[in-house]
């Protein structure tokens, strides 16, 4: 290749580079300014003792990390976080998966109605939902408590009871998140060729096997997306009901890593601790993802 050609070649490649990056510039700028820089700043803050307003930040090295890791509360909240993840995965990933399968493949009547109705709450603000559910689920005076009272049932004092509080807050969150996940999974299952399912039916394969052995693998690209979205976003969505209903109480029993980071930053103003917690949350997400992809990603079926 002549030198001249080489130059032209590299020029052309540069042109590809330039247009490629040109198209990315709007996104990159926004992300750089409003995500990456803040992220780095937060990492930086995690090494300081600062209350957000005092003019000096005191460099403390790994003290924040030591304190956060040495605090039994951190582990309580970590436990809560896992509990949230498990519950939300069950309600917002497993259940909608099954629902999507049944509506997409099994049932023939009222499918349209179910789809519309299940998707409906996804359009409504979670703040509204939180206020509503606090009222509806008031263990003494709410309509549910009264109706339950007729048949001699009491509903637990969930805002003040460890365990219950996480379950109910998860349910409130699910109220909003469920429909969106459902529709994504439905879309994916709907895209699987009907012939495959029909041929399985001809072979007299039971429904649960069809679900586990055909539907699950073939819709796994969406499945994984919903799985990850559930973990990442649900924890962030849970923030709203926690803030509106319990503020993390009773005694941190409903706090999760994200709310706790907020609590440290905006309630007791320990910016360093908050930053440390945020960094750890990210670390946790990454570990979860890594584990997931290490053990589960092999089976994913991508259409392309």
């Amino acid at each position: 290749m002549s030198a001249f050609a080489a130059v032209r070649k590299s020029l052309q490649l540069n042109r590809e580079n330039a247009i490629g990056y040109g198209l990315l510039i709007p996104s990159i700028i926004i992300f750089a300014v409003f995500t990456f820089w803040p992220f780095l700043y937060t990492v930086y803050l995690s090494f300081f003792d600062w209350n957000m307003i005092s003019p000096e930040k005191e460099f403390v090295g790994f003290k924040n990390y030591m304190e956060v890791l040495g605090d039994p509360r951190t582990y309580q909240i970590l436990g809560n976080t896992f509990l949230y993840i498990v519950i939300l995965l069950a309600i917002n990933c497993v259940v909608p998966y099954i629902f999507a399968f049944v509506i997409g493949v099994v049932l023939q009547r009222w499918n349209g109605f179910y789809k519309s109705a299940l998707f409906l709450p996804a359009f409504i603000s979670l703040v509204v939902g939180s206020i509503l559910f606090t009222w509806i689920l008031n263990p003494v005076s709410g309509p549910v408590a009264i109706v339950f009272g007729w048949i001699g049932l009491e509903i637990p004092n969930w805002t003040k009871t460890e365990g219950w509080v996480i379950l109910v807050l998860s349910l409130i969150t699910s109220w909003k998140v469920f429909g969106y996940n459902f529709i994504l999974l439905y879309a994916s299952i709907n895209g699987i060729s009907k012939e495959i399912i029909e041929s399985a039916r001809l072979d007299n394969i039971p429904l649960w096997r069809i679900f586990l052995q055909i539907i699950l693998p073939m819709s796994s690209a969406t499945g994984v997306y919903v799985f990850i979205l559930t973990i990442v976003q649900s924890l962030q969505y849970v923030f709203t009901p926690v803030k509106v209903v319990t503020q993390g109480g009773p005694d941190y029993a409903s706090s999760n890593l994200i709310y706790h980071a907020y609590h440290e930053a905006f309630v007791v103003y320990r910016t360093g601790h908050s930053a440390t917690l945020s960094i750890m949350t990210m670390g946790l997400f990454l570990v979860l993802l890594f584990l997931y992809f290490k053990f589960a990603d092999r089976g994913i079926y991508y259409e392309n």
Partner: protein, 377 residues
């Protein structure tokens, strides 16, 4: 000069060479078929012409100009894709004229070209349909129409008929010929189907493993294969390639010997080699129940019914020979006598697989000139 010239063109992805050192010229106005098994580099070659793939090394000239760095759109080429690549969101008409609109042709010009092509390809009345509402054959014709209306110098087709059933292929080929007769584009056509190649090509470029195996008229590719690969690839069942021993006057296959005529003896002598493979097409093997004076004897292994004739698989001292027969009365275990037609046999170098060529006497004028004249007609 609407010709396409390859000069030492190479294409590699990372360390894999997909196309190795191509050197040939596609002549102005001819229908050249790029033929070969899948993975041979024929599609890559076509896509390099289209500018859809970068050329790793060497030069590609079109119309006398070096094209390596000219973007696709500036190469004056139209292309038909195997999957037709119709825009699913545009109607038939929009699909056809979309490229013309971009060229900023006048409304009248666009309309007249559209009418013409709709008429020619029997697409009238379907203008407002979306691709999903068209049959496979109709879609294929839309793809042709879209490439045709551009009236570009180069017309590239990538397996354009492979998604059609056998009958549609025949009519589609006719349409393609019609288009070519009308506009005389330089047509480059990729296929893995030798029938398509035989029936349609002015010349065939046979590729294998990223290398050009042979570039010639269909007749020559069939009758005078340049190497073992070509001989075996063209024709069905493929050419028999047999291990042989060369003696002074004869050759032997297995235990049996076969005397060559003077013309061949002289030819082989001139090549000064004795390490040879023997080739003969099934259709050039004469079969008989009685022995030939200069022939072979074998045992029938099985027969295949091809409809128009039969393929008889014969065991010749451990090697398999296929012969074509009009009759079906060959049964397993029968003894069969057969003999290659002397002027239809081929010899190849054992090491390289290349043909040792053919004696001058056997190259009649017919072979040399018939195909050429079709190009000019």
């Amino acid at each position: 000069m609407k010709e396409i010239r390859f000069e030492h063109v190479k294409k590699s992805y990372g360390n894999t060479e997909v196309v190795k050192d191509l050197n040939f010229t596609i002549r102005e106005g001819e229908r050249l078929i790029l033929l070969g098994p899948s993975g041979c580099g024929k599609s890559t070659t076509l896509r390099m012409i289209a500018g859809l793939e970068d050329i790793t090394e060497g030069s590609l000239f079109m119309n006398g100009k070096k094209m390596n760095d000219v973007p696709s759109g500036k190469r004056n080429a139209a292309m038909v894709f195997q999957n037709y690549a119709l825009y699913p969101h545009m109607t038939l008409k929009q699909n056809i004229i979309y490229g013309l609109k971009v060229q900023k042709l006048s409304k009248e010009e666009i309309q007249s070209r559209l009418d013409f092509v709709l008429d020619m390809l029997q697409l009238k009345g379907l203008e407002d349909r979306l691709p999903k509402d068209l049959s496979g054959g109709q879609r294929q014709r839309v793809a042709l129409a879209r490439a045709t209306v551009k009236r570009s110098d180069f017309f590239l087709l990538d397996e354009p008929l492979s998604n059609l059933d056998a009958q549609l292929r025949v009519s589609a080929r006719k349409e393609l010929l019609k288009i070519h007769d009308m506009f005389k584009q330089t047509m480059v056509y990729v296929t893995h189907d030798q029938i398509e190649a035989m029936t349609f090509a002015d010349r065939i470029a046979l590729m294998y493993n990223g290398e050009l195996q042979m570039l010639d008229t269909p007749t020559n590719v069939y009758h005078r294969p340049a190497n073992v690969f070509t001989a075996k690839f063209i024709g069905s069942p493929p050419t028999n390639i047999l291990e042989m021993n060369y003696h002074e006057k004869s050759i032997s296959i297995g235990q049996q010997s076969f005397e060559l005529n003077e013309i061949w003896l002289k030819h082989i002598k001139q090549r000064n080699t004795s390490d040879l493979l023997f080739g003969i097409r099934p259709e050039h093997v004469e079969l008989s129940t009685a022995s030939f004076s200069n022939g072979y004897r074998g045992k029938v292994k099985y027969t295949e019914n091809l409809g128009s004739n039969y393929s008889v698989y014969i065991d010749l001292d451990g090697q398999e020979v296929v012969a074509a027969s009009d009759h079906k009365h060959w049964y397993k275990g029968d003894t069969v006598y057969f003999r290659p037609m002397m002027d239809r046999i081929h010899f190849f170098h054992k090491g390289t697989g290349n043909s040792i060529g053919y004696p001058e006497e056997l190259l009649d004028a017919d072979y040399k000139n018939k195909e050429e004249s079709r190009v000019l007609a």
